[in-house]
């Protein structure tokens, strides 16, 4: 029984996001159609769907079970569509994998070093626990949600009934983790600390890998060197309690860690591609999903994401000499702005 539970959980965090990523990746160009990009896109599609589904349920004070039923149904439907529409992608992935054999020996060695570094970090995340006081809120909200079948209507510190916690209701990352817990039967603390901590580290390096692919598209042999430096950078980034690297490495499973380690780099990944002359529909899809996912992660996104998007719209718009493009780019964060207005009203 225990093995089945953990098996379901691993399926929900490994193949399910991968398959969900087929939809945007199908609409991307050749350089972007990689298994890592698919996995990255899949997570952001999951987050996008969850944010848009969960927020109305939370604000209307509906039961968690109802949300689980609806969101699971949506994921199942999107998964079916994704698997069918992306069935041609397998051949592209196979080509990608075959190319590994053509790499020079020193490049393979560099990749091996990088994967060892990541494996070490993932193993450390599973085998060692990190004390963070904020878990007393985040994980407790997941536990309360699963136990009482309500969302943000209980005080995380005592368990007593409480008015709707509007400060956190629009960024329901703990509810997402409660969904993983409900479907798998694994406790929220184990989901966050033993599964999401290592899996999201891998997710983070997939994003950086795609950034590396774009930056070094004409120097592919240097990509593993870039990735090794990034891995070392994160390992030694704990210069203060406040850095991106500290949050990404020690609070990977929290919304803040997700924002610092994954959402903002993914935003830059999409922007780098959107700044090119020709942009793929898939990249636009990824960009919208990242903008909405940022709200799921943390309420800081209400300020940060429109700012980055706004500045990027102006800069890329000037470069492309296109007001239309700038407006379209900024419109991608409209859901984020709408949720920000919602936050100001209900706060």
């Amino acid at each position: 029984m225990k093995i089945i539970r953990w098996g379901i959980l691993l399926a929900l965090v490994l193949p399910v996001p991968f398959f969900l990523g087929f939809i945007p990746v199908k609409h991307m160009n050749r350089l972007q159609r990689t298994p890592a990009m698919t996995y990255v896109c899949g997570w952001f599609v999951s987050f996008f769907l969850f944010e848009l589904t969960a927020v109305p349920f939370i604000l209307l004070e509906q039961s968690f079970t109802a949300l689980v039923a609806v969101y699971t149904g949506i994921v199942a439907a999107v998964l079916a569509v994704s698997l069918w529409s992306g069935r041609h992608l397998w051949a592209v992935y196979l080509d990608e994998i075959k190319r590994i054999w053509d790499m020079p020996g020193r490049v393979k060695l560099c990749w091996a070093v990088f994967f060892l570094l990541v494996a070490f970090q993932m193993a450390y995340a599973v085998l060692y626990e990190y004390y963070d006081g904020d878990d007393a809120y985040y994980i407790a909200v997941s536990v309360l949600t699963d136990t009482f079948d309500t969302m943000y209507l209980r005080d995380a510190y005592s368990g007593y009934i409480y008015p709707l916690d509007t400060r956190h209701a629009l960024s329901p990352m703990p509810i997402y983790q409660a969904w993983l817990s409900r479907l798998s039967g694994v406790a929220p603390a184990a989901v966050a600390h033993s599964v999401l901590a290592p899996v999201w580290l891998m997710f983070m390096y997939c994003i950086y890998g795609q950034i590396g692919s774009r930056l070094l598209w004409n120097k592919k042999a240097y990509k593993p060197v870039f990735m090794i430096l990034i891995a070392v950078w994160f390992m030694y980034g704990n210069i203060s309690l406040y850095t991106t690297e500290t949050f990404a490495m020690t609070r990977t499973w929290q919304g803040k860690g997700l924002m610092a380690g994954m959402v903002i780099p993914a935003l830059f990944l999409a922007l780098i591609y959107l700044a090119q002359e020709s942009t793929s529909q898939g990249m636009w899809l990824l960009f919208i999903c990242v903008c909405v996912s940022s709200v799921l992660a943390t309420s800081v996104s209400f300020m940060v994401i429109p700012t980055i998007t706004g500045v990027s719209s102006v800069m890329i718009g000037i470069r492309k000499k296109s007001v239309k493009f700038a407006a379209e780019l900024f419109l991608c964060c409209a859901p984020c702005l709408l949720l920000a207005v919602c936050y100001m009203i209900i706060k």
Binding site: G133, A189, N238, E245
Partner: protein
């Protein structure tokens, strides 16, 4: 505005924390400004990043940001892709050299700069070997399991060291307070917490019992590391279990009521007599 600028400067200084991070970022930005020829990359990596940095340092923007939440304004610094810029600069520098030795030297130098400038996350933080998949101290799990009832969710008061982790494991037991009372900066006050924690070496049992009853606690958990001035039995409690160095007492008042209503597990009934 002066205060806002001071607060922004403090945020940057706290973020940087005596390291070479911000100067390294500026060096990488300057290096790429000079060397990066790809116009599409220049827009996002240089112009957007520089403009975003300027916006976040702008007093008016910072004033608005701090009005929303001054405590977390430092998080806008996450928007600067410092790691990407520094590592990409290092790789670009490597690519400038033809000889493999020179490339290797640049790589080693880059790693050394990162290592010497930074702090290893695993040695400079609160990491300890995990004892279970929850990553929760085992004594918290054992105490929580002892307190859980099959047919009822009781209220229990716990020593401060168990509070942060307790509700990460279970919501089947209520507590009068949690981590909110442990954080000194949150200025949360509670007479029961004071009774439990004010004296670091001993419990004033009569005071603990009085306050616990005021908070409707069926269970009181006391650490064996502290002395007891008085006896819980004299206050109308019985010792239900001793778990991992913690005495778990149950209030007889609740015992009789719960027992009558059929809410107690067999082991509690056996202990209560």
């Amino acid at each position: 505005m002066k205060e806002v600028m001071q607060a922004v400067a403090e945020d940057v200084i706290l973020y940087n924390n005596r390291s070479f991070l911000i100067p390294l970022f500026l060096i990488a930005l300057l290096f790429l400004w000079v060397t990066e020829k790809d116009r599409k990359l220049r827009v996002v990596l240089l112009y957007v990043v520089a403009a975003v940095a300027a916006v976040f340092l702008c007093p008016l923007y910072a004033w608005v940001g701090m009005k929303i939440d001054a405590d977390v304004y430092y998080r806008v610094l996450w928007s600067l892709p410092i790691g990407i810029l520094v590592c990409y600069s290092a790789v670009k520098l490597m690519a400038y050299f033809r000889a493999a030795v020179s490339k290797a030297l640049v790589f080693v130098l880059a790693v050394l700069v990162i290592v010497m400038n930074g702090d290893l996350v695993y040695t400079n933080s609160f990491h300890i070997r995990a004892t279970n998949a929850y990553h929760i101290p085992q004594q918290v799990i054992d105490v929580a399991d002892a307190l859980r009832l099959d047919n009822y969710k009781p209220i229990a008061v716990l020593p401060a060291e168990l509070l942060t982790h307790f509700h990460q494991y279970t919501a089947d037991v209520f507590t009068p307070y949690g981590r909110n009372v442990v954080e000194p900066s949150w200025s949360f006050q509670d007479e029961l917490y004071d009774a439990m924690e004010a004296d670091k070496t001993a419990y004033d049992v009569a005071e603990v019992a009085r306050c616990a009853r005021n908070h409707n606690c069926a269970f009181v958990v006391l650490s064996c590391a502290k002395q007891m001035n008085g006896s819980m039995e004299e206050q109308g409690y019985f010792l239900f279990r001793f778990v991992q160095g913690y005495f778990i007492y149950m209030d007889y008042n609740y015992y009789w009521v719960f027992k009558e209503q059929g809410l107690l597990d067999a082991d509690v009934i056996e202990a209560g007599g």
